[in-house]
Structure formats: C-alpha cells, structure tokens
C-alpha cells in the first residue's frame, strides 16, 4: 500500500466523499469498509431477516453512490445521508410486499452455538424470535427508530436527520416502540418468571 493509501484511512467521511468525486478509488474502498457491515445488519433487521436480500440492498446502495456521488451534500453528515438512502430503499420495498405478514411466516435465522448454558441459549433464541415477531408488528417508522437507536447506536438528533423529522417525533416513536415491545416480551422478564 502506498503512502497515499495510509493517509486516507484517517480522513473523515466527508473528505473521502470529496475525493471519491474526483475519482479516487481508494476513498470508495475505505468508505465501503466502514459502512458495508453496518448497512447489511440494518437491512437484515429491516427486511424480515433476509440475509440475501440485505446483501443485495447493500450492493445496490453502493452502486447508487458510484453512479451519482454528486448527490451527497457535503454540508451534512455522511452516515445520516447513507442511512437515509437505506431507509428509503426499505420503504419502497415495503410498498412492494406485505412485510408484516411475512415476518410471522418466515423461518427465523438461528444463531450458532455459543459457550453459554443450554437454558440461556434457549432463552436467547426464544427472545430473538419474539423480538422479531414484535418488531414486525410495529409500524415501520417505530421499527426504524428502534433499530437505528439500539442496533446502529445513533443519537436521536442523527435519527431525526435520517428520517427528516423533528427530534421530539423521534423520541415519541422510540418510547412507543419500547412500550409495545416491553408489553409483548414480558414473558422474558426475570421478575415475572
């Protein structure tokens, strides 16, 4: 790797996008490394835990970036912009299919064996299934806020930028999602058990 490649790894996302517009292939490569896994996990949760579809959506999103890098507004955050595109792709997909019904019917992705005890493993598996079902029952806006907050670890302000709505609205949706999920997942509360 040349001297120039090493320097690019420390550059912020916005600078990498500016370099990408100038035709710097290394800038694109670094951005892909930073966001590919995050986007796959986001799409995985948003699209009925379909890994194959999540990979395709991630590929399509980066193709959009390659074809039209000028669409990025350098005055905004890159992660907000890229998740905004991802969210819009999911919305379009929801219009095409009834995701909520498929959420219940689709086979759940099973986590591989861990070193935890059998009981914990079963609890975790059951929780995962219940969580999936509960998330599926949520409205897409509430589900998106919950995933962006607790899966992608984004702040309420950043989520507001992604969904293009006020921060208060994001807060309202988040607590609604927490409340609904808590009601449905009450069986896993150790005090209740």
């Amino acid at each position: 790797m040349s001297f120039w490649h090493k320097n690019l790894r420390n550059k912020p996302d916005v600078e990498l996008m500016l370099l990408l517009r100038k035709g710097r292939k290394e800038a694109f490569s670094i951005l892909y490394e930073r966001y590919a896994d995050k986007l796959v996990s986001f799409f995985y949760r948003m699209l009925n835990k379909d890994n194959e579809k999540a990979q395709d959506f991630m590929h399509d999103l980066f193709v959009k970036i390659i074809e039209n890098p000028a669409s990025f507004d350098t005055g905004k955050r890159f992660d907000t912009w890229i998740f905004h595109i991802a969210y819009n792709m999911c919305k379009n997909e929801y219009r095409k299919m009834t995701v909520r019904d498929e959420y219940r019917d689709r086979q759940i992705y099973k986590l591989p064996y861990s070193e935890e005890s059998v009981k914990n493993k079963i609890d975790q598996q059951k929780f995962s299934e219940e969580l999936n079902e509960s998330l599926g029952s949520l409205d897409e806006k509430h589900r998106t806020v919950f995933i962006l907050r607790y899966q992608q670890d984004l702040s309420l302000k950043e989520i507001a930028g992604i969904l293009d709505c006020p921060e208060g609205t994001v807060k309202s949706r988040l607590f609604k999602a927490i409340k609904v999920l808590s009601e449905k997942l009450i069986v896993f509360d150790p005090k209740v058990n």
Binding site: S41, H59, F62, P112, K191
Partner: protein, 222 residues
C-alpha cells in the same frame, strides 16, 4: 397524556440504557415515579438491554459478502472509463496513474544533481568563425626643429631665428619640402590598400583600380 412522559423527563432514554432504578438518584427517582412505576422502568430497561445484546451478537455473524466488494470495484472501473470517452480515455488513464510520493522527489533530486554536474563543466574554447586581419597603416609624424630646441637665456639670440613676441615660432627655413617625401594622411591609407591582397578581385580577372574604394576593403584571411 401518558405517552408524553418522556418529554417531561429529559434524558430518560439515557437513564434507561445506563442505570437500574435502584441506582438512580433520589431526584431522578422522584421525577420518574410521577409517570411510571419502578417495575415499568425495569421492564423498559430489560427490553432495551436484551435487544442491544441481540443486535451485537447478530452483527458479529452478519457480515458483508466479500464478493460484493470486488463487483463494486469493477463497477467503479467501468464507470470511470466510460466517463472518459474517446481519444482522451487513454490519456486520462495515464494522468490518473498514481505513483508513490518518494518517486517524484527522487527524480527531482537526480535532475538537480545532473544539472549541477553539467553546469560546472569548463566552457568550450572560443572558436572564431572568421579571422579579421588587422590593417596596419604607416604614419609618419612630421617633426618641427623648433620643438626640439630649448631656448637658453644666455645664448645669443639667433638673428635668423628671431622670435618675435606675438608672432609665434618661426620655422627654420630648410630645404624646400617635397610632397612626395612626406606623404599626406590620404596617401598612407592608399598605401595600405596596395598592401592588401585582393584575391577575389584577381581571381575575377579584375584589377584593383577598376573597383571603387569600398570594394577594396575586401580582405581575405591569411
């Protein structure tokens, strides 16, 4: 409204994520108890913690397919070449070729060293394309006898050479001067012309007297 309790408690989402109800300050407890029970608080906290743990374990397993990266880079190459069409595409690829930073610096250093080495060479000997022969003209300066003599105050004045005041020096009468024996300035120049070899004119079958004075300036190098 019951659902708007989060607006009344600033930073509630951070409290739920970070601390159990028992770990809250008394002020925080008092504020939360206005809107929910401790059980509700713990219920919400459990949901958040378990969801986060599940998402973290999922992210360790769900990774981007490496083949996608390769496809995207190929797509990038296609995009770049198609944007630079025609005769400029090859030129653009050459200009876009990236080299490490030390190579241009090294090249500049080598060029600088070569420049100083070549610059310090001894200059070439002066070469003359033509040699201009020097024309020597003899010139005889006429001397006056009176300038050689220094008049002595003790000596008797020479009547012949009386110097009358205001009349200037009186030339010693001598033999009558012959213009031929003491040539004039023009004669000296003409004599110089005669000494110059006019090869071209002789070769052309012409004599020096046939041409004007300007032609007579032609000189050939010895």
């Amino acid at each position: 409204m019951e659902d708007q309790f989060f607006e009344k408690i600033p930073g509630l989402e951070k409290l739920l994520e970070s601390r159990n109800f028992e770990d809250l300050t008394s002020l925080e407890k008092e504020e939360i108890l206005h809107y929910m029970s401790p059980e509700d608080y713990q219920k919400y906290r459990q949901t958040i913690q378990k969801s986060k743990a599940l998402f973290i374990s999922e992210q360790k397993k769900i990774k981007a397919n490496p083949a996608i990266r390769k496809r995207l880079l190929e797509r990038w190459e296609q995009q770049e070449t198609s944007s630079k069409k025609g005769m400029f595409s090859a030129l653009w690829r050459i200009l876009a070729f990236r080299i490490p930073a030390y190579q241009p610096g090294f090249a500049v250093a080598v060029l600088a060293i070569l420049f100083f080495l070549l610059h310090n060479e001894k200059p070439d000997t002066i070469r003359y394309l033509t040699k201009i022969d020097t024309i020597y003209a003899e010139k005889k300066i006429a001397q006056s006898e009176d300038t050689d003599k220094i008049q002595d105050s003790t000596s008797k004045p020479d009547k012949k050479n009386d110097i009358k005041e205001g009349t200037g020096l009186k030339e010693k009468p001598g033999p009558k001067t012959d213009r031929r024996s003491v040539p004039s300035q023009n004669q000296y120049v003409q004599n110089a012309y005669q000494k110059i070899r006019i090869v071209n004119l002789k070769q052309a079958g012409r004599s020096a007297t046939d041409d004007s004075a300007l032609m007579k300036f032609l000189v050939t190098a010895n």
